[in-house]
């Protein structure tokens, strides 16, 4: 798969995850503006990314989602449950699409009418949320966004049908240096009650060049008129700069729409279509004149056509504008070209044909960016026309100069750059754009004409990049720079994403290295014992200790890479809890703590399923319905706390709820009914022991298997899963007050430290985690109580078993020369057990592999490992042995 698509999928997954999280956070803090902003940004990013590919359904849905979040962010609509549901549903759809794309491994998806239909339905419902809520809250006010979305300067002028005469007047004013702005002011309906007088605001402005007052809806009959519901809408062209006008309306910025007017924005031809006008010939002549800079010729040709045209026609309007522009801004070629283009389009002349006839259509045109250089130059002119004086004006001016220099250099017009530096200097000294603007205006005409000769001759060359970069021939000095810069360029982001398989491979390799390293002590022993070279033996041991240290550090480093925060698993809980609680009709407040606690990836991953099961259990059986809770004098919303922390080399996770708790009496009865315990046990069990019965295979507390946590698996599955990664689980519960489960897992499970023991001439391993201590016990200190043997260790009775018995070997354990027996004391849950073996040996680090194949069913073994001498060590699982 291509890397871009790869990146897209992985980033989208992360983003969708974050969107889910933010939505749930928003549920608790529906007014958090920061969160809304972030949500918007996340959706926006997702949409932007999808636009790089051809996934129309995805882009469509995300567009709807973005608009919705935009409305939320702008407080046009409020956050609601249904909104969150709808967005989550949209994200599920996107996730499914991502899966499909991943499966296809291709940057395109086969068309699928069902998918298209689903996307449309989703998009519709997202959009309905916007309109439904917006209209519900404010029936009369159109959403401000629809006002903003309209092109305020250009579109409004045309749409508002400002008479041409008024626009020409504004145009003249601007040419004479009087800034003019467009204003549209729609006061809030209840503004009178806030003490506002919109009309006063309006009459305080200088006399407008054009003005209009309308009602935002038709006036009701006078009898039903509410004089105090403001329906007024003011529009005008004001002879003021944008800054001044913005200042005037600074207290009600959201009720006005302001923009500064430029000659190009005003010079918009209006009128009836003109298909009968013989414009083609005129256009050719006019274009030639424009190219050659023949003002008089252009003016005459235009006047002639104007006389032939009815004044109401659009072509006449365009010609009037053209003549006005010729008169007032003879050098404004882009605007003149724009007007000629308008005549061309209006006359229905095929643009391509016109282009062929008139190559000058490549001249700078502000609207047509197909010519990049013209676009760059026109944009710089536009920036220079800005009248603001921000603190960064000098930097802006220098950047404009740099852009112009580059653009002129690009088209080979090096002579034109002369004077640019002086103009820039003058502009910087006066801290205003004018000198640069004047310089550019002086260059504009010749540059357009001359650039045309460059650009027009090979029209393709203007848009197609040259085959070879011009800097292929670099000097030695530049090559050095190049080297340094390449390094800089690659000093990219400080975090990288690595495929899991690669880390797993590293892990396997370090495992093999540890095993190989462990071969060295054997070799040393052989050197000494078999070959009798003590010196060499010592050297090997020396090398071993060095290698050992490096391997340890390396292992540690790889472990660090494999560490994941528990949030990796926790992050899915908010939604799980929310959805499950919804289904059950319960209210739950989820509290997550210690999400940053880290543990090995395998441990974290092995946690996911047991935790999900425990949470479902809690929600289903533990927490009561709101009614039950109120009846019990508890808050209606139950509390579920999931807390992680590290304790030395283990990570501890607690899942606590404040629900109904577990009644040991019920457990006892159930266990008895199910035949898990006999009558005697029933009476003997303590409450805590009774509670632990829920981990027994085949035990399920629910009266009937429910849709959620049932499915025939009980807590025994959880316990097995936890035990598989050398974890333990315990449970505390107080009827009526709640239940707390506590999982304790090793931080890492990749390398296990085991003690090698010997029994019946065979070596076995026991995980050091389980070993409490090893002792030598004199046979006389072993007591026999009925069938059970035991000994007393530090005032504590420890039951004893022999390993040979456990393994079904018909051999007695061998004592040492002093008649003592070696005992490994293991801890199982909270009990101690002594296992009598023949001998205790060294401890080694091993990579534990689970028993595979037909050995997989063998009870009592945790797995096997390869030792340094090439032999296989079976590692015992004391719990299963019993």
């Amino acid at each position: 798969m291509n890397p871009l698509l790869d990146q897209f999928i992985s980033e989208s997954r992360d983003t969708i995850q974050s969107i889910g999280e933010r939505l749930l956070q928003l549920e608790n803090a529906p007014a958090d503006h920061e969160l809304m902003n972030e949500l918007f940004r996340l959706v926006h990013t997702l949409k932007g990314n999808s636009g790089l590919f051809d996934f129309p359904e995805m882009t469509r849905v995300l567009h709807g989602a973005e608009d919705l979040m935009d409305a939320v962010r702008d407080s046009r609509i409020g956050y609601s449950q249904s909104l969150a549901d709808q967005l989550l549903e949209a994200m599920d759809f996107i996730s499914a699409l991502l899966d499909e794309i991943l499966d296809g491994g291709d940057a395109s998806l086969p068309a699928d009418t069902e998918r298209t239909a689903a996307a449309m339905v989703l998009t519709d419902s997202l959009r309905q949320l916007i309109t439904a809520q917006a209209t519900q809250e404010d029936t009369a006010t159109p959403a401000p966004e629809t006002l903003l979305a309209r092109d305020p300067a250009m579109a409004s002028c045309a749409e508002a049908q400002i008479p041409e005469a008024a626009r020409m007047e504004a145009y003249r004013q601007i040419i004479q240096g009087q800034a003019c702005s467009w204003m549209s002011y729609q006061p809030e309906e209840d503004c009178f009650f806030k003490g506002e007088d919109p009309f006063y605001q309006i009459t305080q402005l200088p006399a407008p060049l054009w003005r209009r007052v309308t009602a935002r809806e038709p006036w009701p009959a006078p009898e039903t008129l509410d004089a105090y519901r403001c329906l007024l809408h003011f529009e005008s062209i004001v002879p003021m700069d944008l800054q001044g006008l913005t200042g005037h309306f600074r207290y009600i910025p959201d009720q006005v729409q302001l923009s500064s007017l430029s000659p190009a924005a005003l010079a918009i031809p209006t009128g009836d279509a003109h298909d009968s006008i013989p414009a083609a010939e005129y256009l050719q002549t006019a274009t030639e004149h424009l190219q050659s800079g023949d003002h008089e010729g252009l003016i005459q040709a235009s006047r002639l056509l104007l006389e032939l045209s009815s004044p109401k026609l659009r072509v006449a309007s365009a010609l009037r504008w053209l003549l006005l522009v010729m008169e007032t801004r003879p050098d404004d070629v882009p605007l003149q070209q724009q007007l000629l283009d308008d005549i061309r389009h209006g006359a229905g002349i095929d643009t391509d044909a016109a282009n062929a006839a008139a190559p000058s259509s490549l001249a700078p045109n502000m609207r047509d960016m197909s010519d990049p250089i013209a676009g760059i130059i026109a944009t710089q002119a536009e920036i220079l026309a800005l009248t603001d004086v921000p603190p960064w004006l000098p930097g802006r001016l220098r950047a404009i100069a740099a852009s112009l220099r580059a653009a002129f250099t690009h088209v080979g017009q090096l002579t034109l750059i002369e004077g640019l530096d002086e103009a820039l200097q003058a502009a910087l000294e006066r801290n205003q754009s004018t000198p640069l603007a004047r310089w550019l205006a002086d260059q504009a005409l010749p540059s357009a004409a001359e650039a045309n000769t460059v650009l027009a001759a090979p029209p393709i060359a203007a848009t197609v990049p040259p085959a070879a970069p011009s800097d292929t021939a670099t000097s030695a000095g530049e090559t050095r720079k190049f080297g340094r810069r390449m390094e800089d360029a690659h000093a990219g982001p400080s975090a990288i994403k690595v495929d899991q398989a690669k880390i797993d491979r590293l892990m396997n390799l370090i495992g093999e290295m540890i095993v190989a390293k462990n071969a060295l002590p054997y070799l040393a022993a052989r050197a000494e014992n078999v070959f009798g070279v003590r010196e060499l033996s010592r050297e090997i041991r020396g090398q071993y200790s060095t290698l050992n240290r490096i391997a340890d550090e390396m292992q540690d480093a790889i472990m660090q890479v494999r560490l994941l925060p528990v949030s990796f698993v926790f992050q899915r809980f908010p939604r799980l809890v929310r959805d499950t609680a919804h289904k059950l009709g319960k209210e739950v407040r989820l509290i997550l703590e210690g999400e940053e606690t880290e543990a090995d990836k395998n441990v974290i991953e092995s946690l996911a399923d047991p935790l999900v099961h425990i949470i479902r259990n809690s929600l289903d059986h533990g927490l009561e319905t709101p009614e039950e809770r109120r009846a019990a004098g508890k808050p209606a919303a139950g509390r579920l706390t999931i807390r992680a922390r590290s304790e030395s080399d283990r990570v501890v996770i607690e899942i606590a709820d404040d629900g109904r708790g577990i009644d040991p009496t019920v457990i006892r009865r159930k266990a008895y009914e199910k035949g898990i315990i006999d009558e005697q046990t029933l009476e003997r069990l303590t409450d805590q022991e009774a509670l632990n019965l829920i981990f027994a295979p085949g035990f399920s507390t629910a009266g009937q298997v429910s849709d959620l946590s049932g499915r025939g698996v009980g807590m025994d599955v959880v316990r097995t899963a936890v035990a598989r990664v050398n974890g333990s689980i315990d449970l505390k519960s107080q009827p009526g007050e709640g239940t707390r489960l506590r999982l304790s897992l090793p931080l890492s499970m990749a390398v296990t430290n085991v003690m090698v023991i010997v029994s019946a001439g065979q070596r076995f391993g026991v995980a050091m985690d389980a070993v409490a201590e090893t002792v030598q016990i004199a046979q006389t200190n072993i007591q026999r109580i009925k069938h059970q043997t035991a000994t007393v260790l530090r005032d504590r009775v420890v039951p004893l078993v022999t390993l040979n018995d456990l393994l079904g070997l018909d051999e007695a354990q061998v004592p040492n020369e002093d008649g003592e027996l070696a005992v490994v004391v293991v801890r199982i849950e909270n009990d101690f057990l002594g296992i009598i073996v023949d001998d205790c040996r060294e401890t080694v680090d091993i990579i534990l592999k689970p028993l595979a194949g037909f050995l997989g069913n063998l009870q009592g073994y945790a797995g096997s490992a390869l030792l340094g001498d090439g032999s296989v060590l079976l590692v015992l699982n004391p719990r299963e042995l019993l």
């Binding site: 006063y200 006399a207 004089a227 403001c230 007024l232």
Partner: protein
Amino acid sequence: MGIEIHDDTLRISDILGVEDAEILLEWLLKNPGGAVDLAECTHLHAANLQVLMASPPRITNWPDDALLADWLKHALNQEE
């Protein structure tokens, strides 16, 4: 100050405040053919403006203040 009634003409002077809008509206409803004299009006609150727009009376005199007159004429579609 405010509103004076002369037969079928309402003469407005100085400033017409927000609370005058109801009075203006009532008078216009009762006198469908009534006229309004704005010559001495220096400003009227926007609420009055929309009453005039919703129920346009005959204007005998426009305000002396040219800017105000200009806006009112355009609002009432009575520009020369």
